[in-house]
């Protein structure tokens, strides 16, 4: 009894139990499920892939360390931004540009808004948009397959302000570029497996689906967003393909080409920049899907996933507002009000 009273009691507010998931658990699980995609990129694009992803992560995490509030690296979100940005870039990108992109993604995509949770736009995509504006040639230089796995796919070690143009890099078009500008298709199996040209992490569609599926099962990713995006793209692309098969790619082609899989599974699902309501998630996904088709088919660019997601990011507050859940017991109250009105 006396010993009982000598020990201090913890006094906290209810609930006194907490679920097991925390922000770091979620973020590091996402990092973990991105690693197989990085590995696949390394398999397809050689050491250049690892260099680019590494530089991007270094730029992102370094910026978070320098300008973020203390201890925010441990939550893992800067690492995700870095990896995702790296996966959207071509293998031959000069590393100094990549580092700059990573720094921009975190600095102007996230920290300037107040850090984790406060940003409006997906930081990785904002970083890519910056690189696309700043280095339009480098970001669309798609290297052709190299003779050896270990050979660099471009002048990764080019220095700033030097004339980059490396003449011995052979380039090749991406499937979407070939479709848009040459009206040539690509075998679906190549698209699904990833043995096509493009940015590092966007080629292996099936692998991305697999990794996303793991996250969705664990509850770290909301499946409604990719489902909505992919369904919308499939529907619209299918309709267009029916109208003019020679001009427009088929639905599976549209689904598995370009950055759609990576964007739909890993970028549009970024919790901070996506709607909080389930209805809002369906709407958000449908908007992204529709914009992807619009840009790909009628826009000047071969690919439109980045702008589609960024544009929908901007609409998220409105989508949230419009899809507020109906509070329990309020439908009847509203009905009563309407009835009671003169």
């Amino acid at each position: 009894m006396t010993r009982d009273s000598s020990r201090p009691l913890v006094v906290a507010a209810s609930p006194h139990l907490r679920g097991r998931d925390s922000v770091p658990t979620i973020m590091w699980n996402v990092v973990g499920s991105l690693l197989p995609i990085v590995a696949a990129a390394a398999w397809f694009f050689g050491p250049s892939a690892l260099l680019v992803v590494g530089a991007s992560v270094a730029g992102a995490v370094g910026t978070e360390r320098l300008f973020g509030r203390g201890g925010t690296i441990a939550d893992g979100s800067a690492a995700i931004t870095g990896i995702l940005l790296g996966l959207t870039l071509p293998a031959g990108m000069p590393l100094w540009m990549v580092v700059l992109g990573g720094a921009f993604a975190i600095g102007f995509g996230k920290l300037i808004f107040g850090g984790l949770g406060y940003n409006i736009f997906n930081p990785a995509l904002l970083g890519r948009a910056f690189l696309q504006a700043a280095f339009p040639v480098a970001i669309t230089t798609w290297p052709a397959p190299a003779p050896h796995w270990w050979s660099l796919r471009g002048d990764n070690f080019a220095l700033p302000l030097m004339r980059a143009g490396v003449p011995d890099v052979v380039t090749a078009a991406t499937p979407l570029g070939r479709m848009k500008f040459e009206h040539q298709g690509t075998p679906l199996l190549d698209l699904a497996l990833g043995t096509t040209n493009g940015s590092l992490g966007e080629t292996a569609g099936l692998l991305i689906l697999l990794c996303g599926g793991y996250l969705a099962l664990r509850g770290y990713l909301n499946w409604r967003i990719p489902a909505s995006i992919l369904a919308t793209v499939a529907l619209l692309a299918g309709a267009l393909h029916l109208a003019d098969p020679a001009r427009y790619g088929s639905a599976p082609f549209m689904l598995f080409s370009g950055g759609l899989m990576l964007g739909a599974v890993f970028m549009a699902t970024d919790m901070v920049t996506a709607p909080v309501t389930n209805a809002g998630r369906w709407i958000f996904g449908a908007g992204v899907g529709a914009l992807v088709i619009v840009i790909r088919v009628w826009g000047g660019l071969a690919e439109g996933v980045m702008y589609a997601i960024l544009l929908m990011n901007a609409l998220v507050p409105f989508v949230n507002r419009a899809t507020q859940p109906r509070a329990f017991g309020t439908a009847t109250a509203a009905a009563a009000r309407v009835k009671g009105a003169p």
Partner: protein, 456 residues
């Protein structure tokens, strides 16, 4: 479209025998510590402390003086109006003092401290509560108030008030709440297993007092022995059914329970009577029967003492007013790593800062959590994962409400249905950012009340 789909889904689920509400959470129930333990009686402590405020409504009015001798069951404080309840001596002895005393809600409250007579047999005076047979409805309501019966599920709302619903409400169903969805607590579980007949007798009294022909006892599926015991003892002459419910927190919340059992939605700001229902906790129903059976007012209750921070968990009958300290000592005391002592379960229970606080009529249990369970976790900004929206049984937007609370925009919170929040804590439980949402909402409710009281 989503709403229509949900309605269809819930109808499909109900036809498949899954009676539940939407949203909610699944904390580990931890009931295995005490679910199998028969209810035992705790010996009388040296003294009992009886606060005058241990029910919802006006506190009782003091009716004894220091030095008075009281017998077990004697009235020591009378009801102050209709929405109030008297307090009775829970043990024979002498009134030692009447003073401020630590109340389990964290405040200090006027309480009567009775020094328990050492060698008393603790036998009450003969029949303080009248025999039930032949009493009219109003007489039953009167007798229930005089017996000091209040809701034993936590809120301690005076039971007789529920037995006299507003005249314009037509009640067609009594729902007996045997969900007991709070982790650790097994009080109601044991009552249903051991006192099934008494529960049915209580139902009978309620049906008589309310003039209602149908009663449904809702029990979560994780208590098959309770469901079986109640089903075995069903009275043949009454329309009483035992309905197994899905296992989910907060199944025992009044509005959720009505939704689960009858698929009726209580309108925001209204009472269950507005949809023709009176809900009563199963422990209260059993107590209602007990006071008429024994003739003794509500002077003792059953509590679960559990948690990994207490040495010998138990289900106990204890006199109301037993100090937490004495209760824990009887259960072997706290373990070395005990950290937090709760009145009630871990989801909605109140942490105690003083072990002198007494067990009240509404105390469902005392749970002692260990340091491992209550470890302070780092808070992160809201990442808008939306888990709280999927957890909230009232379909609110805790993420938005949390942002508004931090900005002290209480009027906006009011417009976002803060008033419908019942502080069940489901949002805090699932929040990966460890934002103390329920705590913010409780503080906001208080702040909003103050602003409204201060006027525009």
């Amino acid at each position: 479209m989503a709403e229509a789909g949900a309605g269809l889904l819930s109808r499909l689920a109900r036809s498949a025998g899954a009676f539940g509400f939407r949203h909610g959470v699944h904390p580990p129930d931890s009931k295995g510590l005490t679910a199998h333990l028969p209810i035992r009686r705790m010996p009388y402590p040296d003294e009992v402390v009886l606060p005058l405020r241990q029910h919802a409504g006006k506190p009782a009015r003091l009716a004894v003086r220091v030095g008075d001798h009281v017998e077990r069951g004697d009235t020591i404080a009378t009801a102050d109006g209709f929405v109030s309840s008297p307090v009775h001596a829970s043990a024979s002895g002498t009134v030692a003092d009447i003073d401020w005393w630590p109340h389990p809600d964290g405040s200090m409250a006027t309480a009567v401290r009775i020094r328990v007579e050492r060698y008393s047999a603790q036998v009450a005076r003969p029949r303080l509560v009248p025999d039930w047979h032949g009493l009219s409805r109003d007489e039953v309501v009167r007798a229930v108030q005089d017996a000091g019966v209040v809701g034993l599920g936590g809120a301690a709302f005076p039971t007789h008030v529920k037995l006299a619903p507003p005249k314009d409400a037509t009640v067609d169903t009594i729902i007996v709440n045997g969900a007991e969805c709070e982790p650790y607590l097994t009080t109601d579980h044991r009552i249903m297993v051991e006192y099934a007949e008494r529960v049915h007798f209580g139902v009978r009294i309620m049906m008589h007092a309310l003039g209602v022909r149908r009663a449904i006892i809702g029990v979560e599926r994780n208590k098959p022995d309770a469901i079986a015991a109640l089903a075995r003892a069903l009275p043949p002459d009454l329309d009483v059914t035992v309905l197994p419910l899905t296992v989910k927190y907060p199944q025992g919340a009044e509005k959720m329970l009505i939704k689960s059992v009858l698929d009726r939605e209580v309108p925001s700001g209204k009472l269950p009577a507005s949809v023709g229902v009176v809900v009563q906790n199963v422990g209260s129903v059993a107590t209602l029967a007990e006071v008429f059976e024994t003739g003794l007012p509500l002077v003792e209750r059953i509590v679960t003492v559990s948690g990994h921070g207490v040495r010998r968990p138990a289900n106990l009958i204890v006199p109301v007013g037993t100090k937490t300290r004495d209760l824990l000592a009887f259960c072997g005391g706290r373990t070395e790593d005990a950290a937090e002592v709760l009145f009630g379960g871990p989801m909605m229970g109140v942490a105690q800062r003083d072990l002198d606080a007494p067990v009240l009529k509404g105390t469902t249990g005392v749970v002692v959590l260990t340091h491992d369970e209550v470890r302070d976790r780092r808070a992160f900004p809201c990442i808008h994962c939306g888990r709280c929206l999927d957890a909230c049984p009232m379909f609110l937007n805790p993420s938005l409400l949390g942002d508004l609370a931090k900005a002290e925009q209480y009027e906006e919170m009011d417009a976002e249905h803060l008033g419908d929040c019942m502080l069940c804590g489901s949002c805090s439980y699932v929040c990966p950012s460890n934002i103390p949402l329920a705590q913010l909402f409780q503080a906001s409710k208080t702040a909003l009340r103050r602003r409204k009281a201060a006027g525009p």
